[in-house]
Amino acid sequence: MLSPVTDTDGAPFWQYARQGQLRVQTCADCDETRFPPRPCCPHCQSFASEWRQVSGRGRVWSYVFPHPPLLPDYAAVAPYNVIVVELVDAPRIRLVGNLVSEAGAALNSLSPSRIRIEARVQVVFDADGLPQWVLERP
């Protein structure tokens, strides 16, 4: 499986994720959240930002089921789901992830029939600190 190839702006997201925290870059001056992380705020041009913890609750905005040809590690578990989650705390922040049966479970661990747009989900983290999502009402 591919690990995140981080950059300067994105590194804090992954550091917090390894501590089991979902945090979103937020402008320290005008309070607007932004994603993906970037050096300055597109609303007020401030370079001051902080990483605000969010509840980790979200709703499925869209999803796909990739089938081969895929990179070998992914082909081995295909078809699996990839979802985009809209955060309840910050509705314009949408994160790509996987909906799984429990923390640490495989990308194909949840039955495809359980996945629908608007489904309520909650963030969990796998052993490497990669965010994953589980259904709020399993």
Partner: protein
């Protein structure tokens, strides 16, 4: 100059030559050789000697660079050369940059080209060592690996919000295939498509199936741009660049446009606003269109963006044979990227020229205006051509 209006681009330049190699899953010659052949064919079509060329434009993804091309085919001194990013989003911008340079007096004879062995070469997404950290870190670890996955995500949301169906996507695939079946140069010339084949084909990334995805092609194409004055002396009927635009919307994210207020209004909307502002006609006056079709779902999005229908109506627009010859908007009349060849959209430019010359294998009667678009879902570009 007080009181005088800036001349601008409108009809100031024309495409006077087109050229291309054959298309195939695998061609024996390398990309540089194919580029030389396509460029020389386009210059021959125009009746212009290679030594007169002083401007070039291509894609940043083009691997045949200006220096290699110029010394191989015998160009003269070049005073303008430009490369445009974002893969298929740059196709129409190659012509737009040449038109701008020529209208501004920076050059006189421009050549745009694209040569690509995508059929026999590697799929770009299989490269795991040269991934840009933004935005790949936010998508690839989760298995959103390929362009098909990224666009499938937008497609699912589009279908959910607007009630578009797989039948709408099939209408796009079918129109392209039907035109390819009329075009002996098309890879899918002798391979008809049926609804049953479409509905039972394998998934690539649900909700996109095999026939929602473009071909993987080896081939090269080129065209020649000159001033309208020079165009009158050329071998072929000039096809005028009436209006041209690029489009990179505020807060856009290429391919993975999930991170702004309105992901379903993409670069097409931005390019379209500029394109129509500088045109003497409207979407209703477009006789034929060549809409970028790396994936079927890009077509309804583009139909909305370029103003052929309202927001959310792109799926319904495809009903009733609207995209076929004789329909409301015949499109991709050589077969497009789905069924003629996928060469980052350059075949759409050449087909637009053939339609306005009256030489298409699926000719729209009396076609006088043609919209050509570049990749939607990435920073894009578009051309309005007229005869």
């Amino acid at each position: 100059m007080a009181g005088q209006r800036m001349a601008g681009l409108k009809d100031a330049t024309a495409i006077v030559g087109i050229g291309q190699t054959s298309f195939a899953k695998q061609l024996p010659e390398d990309e540089r050789t194919l580029a030389c052949r396509a460029v020389l064919a386009a210059l021959d079509d125009a009746g212009i000697a290679p030594g007169e060329v002083d401007a070039l434009a291509s894609y940043t993804m083009e691997e045949t660079d200006e220096v290699e091309l110029a010394k191989a085919v015998g160009f003269g001194d070049l005073t303008f050369f430009s490369k445009i990013g974002y893969g298929g989003g740059g196709s129409c911008a190659t012509v737009a940059h040449l038109a701008t340079a020529i209208a501004a007096g920076q050059a006189t004879v421009g050549v745009a080209w694209r040569s690509r062995k995508r059929g026999s070469g590697a799929r770009p997404w299989t490269n795991t060592t040269r991934q840009l950290p933004t935005p790949a870190q936010w998508t690839r670890p989760f298995g959103l690996l390929r362009p098909a996955d990224e666009i499938a995500m937008l497609t699912r949301r589009y279908m959910y919000e607007y009630g578009a169906t797989r039948d709408h996507l099939f209408n796009v695939a079918l129109a392209c295939r039907n035109r390819a079946n009329q075009n002996p140069a098309a890879i899918m010339y002798d391979r008809p498509l049926t609804r049953e084949m479409y509905m039972t084909s394998r998934w690539i990334s649900e909700p996109l199936c095999l026939f929602d995805n473009c071909l993987e092609t080896d081939g090269a194409l080129a065209c020649v741009v000159v001033s309208r004055e020079r165009a009158r002396d050329c071998r072929r009927t000039p096809v005028y660049v009436h209006s041209a635009a690029q489009g990179l919307p505020a807060q856009h994210h290429g391919m993975v446009n999930y991170w702004n207020d309105d992901p379903l209004t993409g670069p097409a909307w931005t390019a379209a606003r500029h394109l129509w502002k500088h045109a003497d006609f409207t979407p209703q006056d477009v006789d034929v269109a060549q809409i970028y079709d790396a994936f079927t779902a890009l077509v309804p999005l583009s139909l909305e963006g370029y103003g052929f229908c309202g927001r959310g109506e792109g799926g319904a627009f495809t009903e009733g044979g609207a995209l076929e010859i004789g329909g409301q908007l015949p499109l991709n009349t050589s077969g497009g990227g789905l069924s003629e060849a996928y060469v980052h959209g350059f075949n759409l430019i050449n087909e637009g020229v053939r339609q306005l010359r009256g030489t298409s294998t699926a000719q729209v009667p009396d076609a006088a205006t043609c919209l050509v678009t570049a990749g939607e879902g990435v920073p894009t570009s578009a051309l309005l051509l007229r005869s």
